[in-house]
Symmetry: C2
Subunit: 383 residues, 2 copies
């Protein structure tokens, strides 16, 4: 298999925009191409993470964005694995290059949901659940993650304040990220006083509905050298799944697909958690960050929830986690989220993350989850 690098990356700001998914996506792809300095004519294709563009009455995003980029002949695909769509798109772009089917690829993602009211948006998101048993019976994602949190609390004795500290930490990071949806510091008290959404999860335990797009250019090592760009290597790449419906799983306080994909990606990268200098993990709710750190093997069972309060996962901690602000503060434009993680980690690995730079960032891990873990993508990047 050939070595694959990320040679360019860009992201729109995350937030609420009066722009269509098509426009946001075109902006991000165009900026990533510019950043990479590659001639667009060399692009062999584009994998696009997206889940809900049909809510704008526009499917088939590929030809639209490729036409805008001036390369309509290059094939493009929409990939959907719920909230892991971006990570899955990145994976397939990687596979195409590593396997010798392409030399230069775009991997991108986009979502536009701010035109929907909160109830409609929550309903759309619930389509990513096992709708027959979950979403369709009123158990949308806040409820599902609340059930995971309750199980976690019962098993490990964690508290709402522990989770609140995760939100506080991620908001602190997001406040330093000019692309973040929410650039505002909060306190544990703010979280505790915020509206209860699905007990024990409150408004500030949840990520926002964000619009946004992100794109990266992947290429062979040879192309990176030709262009003279500083490569960030894809050291490991893996995808896995879990039983779709939460109630059918043996344990509701962990996500099996995270463990499987994490182990595979780190094995390929020949690293262990000790070698990883920073992570972007899928913190759609605070409890999700706690579980991710455990499922990935960075912390023991029951340690994840308290890690933020203990300073372990701060930018200057032992396991810097979500230095971007995470889904929690940076935002969660579904299809873009997994690609946005790569954009952030590349900046960190190249030492260009400004005020939120993590020191000695040489190896980084991105973790992107669909639904309650029905889909997961993990990537290890390094310089």
């Amino acid at each position: 298999m050939r070595k694959v690098c990320v040679i360019g990356a860009a992201s729109t700001k995350y937030g609420r925009f009066d722009l269509t998914a098509r426009e946001l996506l075109s902006d991000a792809c165009s900026a990533a191409l510019k950043d990479s300095r590659v001639d667009p004519k060399r692009i062999d294709g584009n994998f696009i993470g997206n889940a809900f563009s049909i809510a704008e009455k526009q499917g088939h995003l590929g030809p639209l964005v490729m036409t805008t980029l001036g390369i309509p002949e290059a094939p493009a695909y929409t990939i959907e694995t719920a909230c892991a769509s971006g990570g899955s798109a990145f994976r397939e772009a990687y596979v195409n290059i590593a396997g010798g089917f392409a030399d230069v690829m775009l991997a991108s993602g986009v979502e536009r949901v701010s035109q929907l009211d909160t109830i409609t948006a929550t309903s759309y998101f619930a389509y990513g659940s096992d709708y027959t048993y979950e979403g369709g019976n009123g158990c949308s994602f806040p409820g599902l993650y609340a059930a995971m949190a309750r199980t976690y609390f019962q098993k490990f004795g964690a508290t709402e304040e522990d989770l609140a500290a995760i939100a506080v930490k991620n908001h602190e990071n997001g406040a330093l990220n000019p692309k973040a949806h929410i650039q505002k510091r909060i306190t544990v008290e703010d979280v505790m006083k915020s509206m209860m959404v699905a007990s024990p999860l409150k408004l500030y335990d949840a990520c926002p509905f964000s619009d946004g797009a992100a794109a990266v250019v992947l290429a062979t090592e040879e192309v990176a050298k030709q262009l003279g760009v500083e490569p960030v290597y894809v050291m490991g790449s893996a995808r896995a799944g879990s039983i779709a419906a939460l109630h059918e799983r043996a344990d509701m306080a962990s996500i099996p697909s995270t463990t499987i994909a994490g182990e595979k990606a780190m094995k390929q990268a020949k690293v262990t958690p000790k070698d990883v200098n920073l992570l972007e993990v899928h913190d759609c709710f605070t409890i999700a960050e706690a579980m991710a750190l455990e499922d990935l093997g960075f912390l023991k069972r029951g340690e994840g929830a308290k890690a933020a309060a203990q300073g372990i996962t701060r930018r200057d901690g032992r396991i810097p986690t979500n230095a971007s602000g995470g889904l929690k503060a940076k935002g969660h434009p579904v299809g873009a989220t997994g690609i946005g993680q790569i954009v952030e980690l590349r900046e960190q690995l190249l030492g260009k993350a400004g005020a939120r730079q993590v020191k000695n960032a040489r190896v980084a891990l991105a973790h992107n989850v669909g639904a309650t873990g029905g889909s997961c993508a993990v990537h290890v990047l390094g310089v």
Copy 2:
């Protein structure tokens, strides 16, 4: 690159069913696994062509079907490139095996639209167009393909009767296909008298809205030998795109992505049109079959429309085309269509197509189009 074979295949009947996409897809995948005799535990993933499952309030089909199949850990992806979603899903399963990332994969597709009334279904389909310029202004696919037909008529002097003969031929084939949505012979007069949909295209020039699912199992040559199944080889595989909006193209009587993908796939397979014994082409409307035969290089410009009337594309003709009945009669369950073509061609290549068997079928080509050609997938199969 490793050799890749199709080692199992199955399809539901196409038609109108009181079953969800999830159920249809699970049925097809399960039957394909059984047909292949492979242990489901060996499945490395599933690429699922689907465009509209969100109309059933259910996205994220992958984990649902993998859970049903008893292999929830294996990653699954929904792939959307409008009506070429199935062909695109097959392509990526092929890439994963040929590139060494997997040994055994499912490629599948599904659509369920019969719960929608005709106007709603037409609107959903139009989301695959450039909605800003086309669908959103009332130019849905019948109108777009009508514009292509008008252009074709003006350039080449073809007639409505020529197109009607394509419908008659495909219904004749469909009448022999127990899986076809419409198993009814029609006459040129029937077509000419049918309701005008978008001049010059009438109801019988158009494919039906179908529900249905199809699935194939792909594997390395080694796995095929281990299992002792008769392999059908993927000799060539290619994807390409075209400018999204029809009015921006230089020519409205051809589809550039068909030509690009066709040339690439045949080059990889080391065949020319003369070596291909039968084709399944994307005849969403009769005019589409005419253009496909020309764009793929099987007939000269202007010859495609008259080929059915001349007997060239009949099962016993020089270029047997859509022996299954095609989208026109077999039906068009969007995400399943491209996979269903592979199911048909495998049966033909193994000499198991019963009453509709094409003689001396050794090399076959599948052609699957998204929208008016914004996406295209072409595959060459052989025994």
